[in-house]
Symmetry: D4
Subunit: 247 residues, 8 copies
């Protein structure tokens, strides 16, 4: 509530146009909805940060996911991430018209209706990184932004990446997922003049430390346009890239 | 070099309008300048990524910094970061008109002449984080983007942050530096619908692990619009935020 | 045995009112009970630290838990924690009247009869942290202290927490469970003038490091009223909060 | 601002007893004081969390410390921690009547005037832990709580601790500082029925990992009344113990 | 494409001996094959680095492995590593004549036809390291290099190793796999004047940290002829050893 | 082979009492037995280090364990450790008269016939540490040394340990297993004048880091008679304690 | 106090041969001496663990060391470790007849008068490990045990170690210090049938992690007679080896 | 000593052509030289591993370095590494004709006289990595192998590397030093068919973890011809590359 709205409200109280109860309610606000002790849904998040609350299903039960999804879907576009096939059923049934995709492990319904200034490229180093990229691509679609897929272009065969340079250059932001040594974001960052969002993936073994190795690689990038999100966090990368694309 | 330019060049070779030597030179290119075995300066970086090469002075000698700074300043705006007062002299003398700032530890000259769509907010949790923020603010200024300083608004007194909400909301991107527990980016991320770039700082002791603790905090942020750069990397955060602000 | 009791005992020996054997036994004491080589139960713990020995079932067999639970339940209130549904049967049958709760994974019987000076608030950042909170709530109830549940109020929607400020303010101590970035205890700590006990949870992925990331966040809290317990240790947090509430 | 105050304020607006400007000011509030871009002092912290803002001097300059100390001392008791002898001069001169102690590395003036229900014991394992304990003892004194010093009673000579049991038992809370293996809090925790606050110290070498080893020891304590603060954080431990002692 | 080839091509364009389309194709090249969005196979890798692309099956589905294997096998020798028995079927059926080995978990067909200057020794410390050694031995065979197996010769019985010294000395390079403390490469390195490639294995428990302990052991080797590859990476060790043996 | 034996052998060669082949064989020796490429058994280990080779079954197949056990049992006492019930069958059948114990997860047959100067105490902090202690106790028995079991005497109830002081004092060495915070070895070390061997166990959760936390605790012990072995390594602790007891 | 002494004391109380005050004093005991709040010296430690309290000077001031040394030297042999040359003066002057050695950084006076059953070997891998070995050798001498020095015999030239086998074999225990990869204890452990105590040293760089790499190497030793102490802890290793040698 | 030599020696003993003393000496050997307790120099190392013992000066005193250097220089080429300018004097004076270079921090005299089959390329990502590269280049020169310097060609400007492809391709092995994210070895590995030896450097800050981040990057390289040495270990990389170049 900004000062202007506040002054208007107080003036209406003063003039008797608003009751005390109305004013108290407006001033205390309640931009959330409680589902018993289960959840306190942040229903104003779209206004505030440009995207409805997204459900991270990983450590919730199938029943919890379904209950939350139903409430959110009644208010706008729905996106559930990290939803395993085994847990997807109840939520899919709870939200008529929702679509489940087993590669990206997402459930979604609807999309936001905001204009974007251009597409976002989604790159990955190897075939095994594709599920993370697809989580990003689906998120972009729900945000109303076009994803350009540039897959399996890792640095051990750098010519594969150079051949896709046109696709990179028309993007407003570039998401780069990579496991193992995680070097791809630095190389991409040296090629384009857009924000590059690195997504370390848990693809690898031994010294990849479950994704911490590529995470540290990306944080130390010598290309200054690289920022980083958590391991396997395709959703977060896409959300930020979508904000950039929207302007 | 895209296909169209390539075809044009080859056509000119065919027609005898371009000599073989010219064509070889154009095709092999050399968008860099070698300073003996000291450095291979990437002089086309502005065209490619929107910013000239920036000199990280930390592990270079004063003489190396001066030599590289002189070469770069002859071609465009100059920015040297992590330049300690003890090493600043030679570079400052080598580049006439350059300005050294001991708080941000930067040397700079000139600024880029590109339009920005709006300012960038630079926040920090505590007074000790200010040097990192100033490195970011100086970088933004060299990029031609206005910084809005929002300092000492850490989460243990959350009302200080809420009081600066207007400043946050007019920014195109928000940089948030924080040491110790590094919680501020998450809170800011929940308030604004813009990309938030978290900069963990090495402010703290013991379990702050030299900045790794706030780094991990930010990577795990529950606010999905937060991306992260390396510890104390004010420059990198500002570079990305500047790209977002330019559009 | 304090000096006064000691003098009294010696005086009784001197006067022949106590035999040597009695005195030796009293002086050597044995405030524990051995169950063969299986366990050495600390049966005087209630007197000493204000709570009977609590059984951590996690790395014990179902039979071991049942044997220990039976012995303890014969002497006072019983609390078994981290008892998976698969292992709960034998202990529940061994202690008539005991109650098993699958969310908190506790088995309990009875409660302590000590007065408390007020309630303890139990907060969490997200729905997935609820099992840890419920372990805390059950522990408080066995200690005879009222828990106030404040769930799903994480920092990405800070208004949800501010709306529950009254509940926080009437508590004698506040338990705050959070996974991922673990920022909630710092924000709560800045709002109340009571001890805040942070419980990092293992909710999260990748850079959450199985709960170490929120653990470090909380240890570095800039709010000075925050102390921390082990990852997912709802019981320990509740035990300390209960001691504070008792006074 | 609770609902009752809010209703009263709105009623006064309605009756014309309060002007719109007054009401706006009251509703927007500003419980802090800005020192230019240097600091945003949280001047209402005493009301909110029971202690004025305390200055952590470690990564501030001597001039910054002096400026902040002068402002805070004008409003109530002053405590500056981690202030090295080399930086103490300006702040001591800026605040007339302040006292600097080189062992605890604190500067202080005045004390709070709140009743405490009993003393707090401050224990340490070895002589080298004394500076951390003295930081805690000074903090308690500024809070108006009596510290009981129980020093050099580490677990390799457990009888030294047992001999001080009376001192432990009359305390409302016990602070236990220990470096190296950090085992003392567990042993103390098994002896008393009060909250025990473990302070790992950076005393040790090699596998002590700069205090992380005793930190992990304490977090894993089998005594359930132990909570933990950051390495060497005597101030934080004392602040929480003081809150417990005040009741 | 080196300068000489480039000049020749341009001269042919100038003389009309090559069409523009031919020249564009030659200059843009395309040494890879796209399988939809699934993979971008680097089909020129043999020319460039001396070995066809090898398939790491670990985080790919059985169907993905089969599709990629079929494409690669059509162009030269095939090697698939980390292929569990459960996933091997489809790929084995997709490539007629391929052989699956459950100990090394490899699928292969054919071998390279390049001369080697001598054999490569493959040593291991204990029986449990054999699967990693067999992955190395199979890789060497596909490269056309003879492996000498020297198994179960760990440092706790150093005479077992000394007895195999002749075998070590006729090798052009030595691969040494070891888990637990990983000391064997240092001892071997002190005995032979050839490159020694250490392969830490995940054999061990507790402080072996999943193979990180032997990894660090080998990186710190006081024998200067030791280099190291990732944990359990028998393939990588063999590939480098094979390059050395080929000359 | 010491110098005296060497001189004697050479003298016999000189005198024609030994053939060249005999001498070569004696000088090259072969105190091991190869089982194909499976294992190189160190059959002289008893002479050299006082104990036959012991089989660590953890990462071997049931068939490998059985083959190795059969060979070793033919030459002396047999001890197999970390043998899960699921894998025990073939080895038990391969060695007639062998005994499998599921608590310690050992298979054994026979015992060494060497005199010991006294018993070894085996202590643990909690019931969950018993399997590690039993592995130690069985190992001692195979070595011909008497174990004294002192179980469940953790530091949170220190009187339970003090009550067993007589048992500790008659031991030649003391093994102390502890998980969680691992403080028990320090306390025991302060009570007895014998070598104390700490065995960190993987009992615990969260910040116990799979046993690394108690490992570091023990390495930092302020009691100077404490040495440490790997996590859960009851066998190693017992082997060293047995050597001490033997003298 | 054992039961027999206790019965005798009580009998004397009963017979009036001991006053109540005498008995209380005897039963409460006080086997330590307080130096104000500076230290609580454990003056009965020799009786209990076989060695007087040893002073770790590292994080104490020169004045603290001198005060404690003077008190301890009045009661028996004195050993101060980790005493830098800069801090040694006051303690050396405080204890007449004490000797300071800058290589081992020890101050000592006198030696214990207990018989040993044999010498202890002190080995190291490289010249840089000698200070740690000398700390061990001095400690052994104060304990009355003969050290055998076997220096610079690292595993990259294993024949240097094999040539000293006689020295190793006459020792009752073997101390092995090694930095970098820390492999030497495993090799020594495979050669002798005595307890081997590994001392990781901080000699090395990069991946030696300040001594953690050799620490982990030794903990994972495949030689079962190896136990480990903290990084650079020559004193601790010698203390345990001395106990073994004494019997 | 191989079997053939052994048979010849024994035959000479038998025929009386060799005395027993001669044979004992030959069989016991002593391929090292003891400098008191200071060092046990491995003087046969050249024969065994192809390079004389090299002195790592880092944790030795100037006097120790000088003494060891003098002994080694009397027997062949000399190389001392990690010798700071402050410690170089005594060694340089001790070895007439030796040359000290402050960039690579090496002291050397002479070179080995063995033929190499080709040069070795030494690449680095940035100017700050040059000292490590120079240590490698000097080592190669002492081994008699030509180094090709390819400096400052990091992945953020990949065209700089591609322009030096000819230099890479004529090398027998390629050394690649890189700090920060350490991505360069993977890119080089994808370009050449030779062994690539990655040297992580400690250049960087924050999340570079003192060189551990690029170390892990290189260990996880998707280019299979990359092996890795310790942080900043230019010497080790060059030694292995030199062995490859020699053949």
């Amino acid at each position: 509530m900004d000062e202007k709205t506040l002054r208007a409200l107080l003036a209406r109280v003063k003039r008797g146009q608003a009751s005390l109860d109305e004013a108290v309610a407006a001033l205390k606000g309640a931009p959330f909805e409680r589902l018993g002790d289960l959840a306190t849904l942040d229903t104003h998040r779209t206004l505030r940060v440009g995207m409805p609350e997204v459900v991270l299903a990983e450590s919730k039960t199938a029943a919890q996911v379904a209950a939350i999804a139903r409430t959110l879907a009644a208010r706008g576009p729905l996106l559930v991430t990290r939803l395993s096939p085994a847990k997807a059923g109840p939520a899919r049934r709870a939200v008529k018209g929702s679509v489940y995709d087993p590669v990206s492990r997402t459930l979604r319904k609807g999309r936001m209706d905001l204009p974007a200034r251009g597409p976002v490229a989604v790159c990955c180093a190897g075939t095994s990184d594709i599920p993370v990229c697809e989580e990003a691509a689906v998120t972009l679609e729900v945000m109303g932004v076009e994803p350009i897929r540039v897959y399996d272009v890792g640095v051990a065969g750098i010519h594969r990446l150079l051949a896709r340079r046109d696709d990179l250059e028309r993007a407003r932001a570039v998401i780069v997922a990579a496991g193992m040594e995680g070097a791809l974001p630095s190389v991409v960052g040296g090629l384009v003049g857009r924000p590059v969002i690195g997504v370390p993936t848990s693809v690898g073994y031994g010294a990849s430390l479950g994704g911490l190795a590529p995470l540290f690689t990306m944080l130390n990038s010598c290309a200054p346009n690289v920022t980083v999100v958590n391991v396997d966090n395709g959703f977060g990368a896409a959300f930020v890239a979508g904000l950039v694309a929207r302007g």
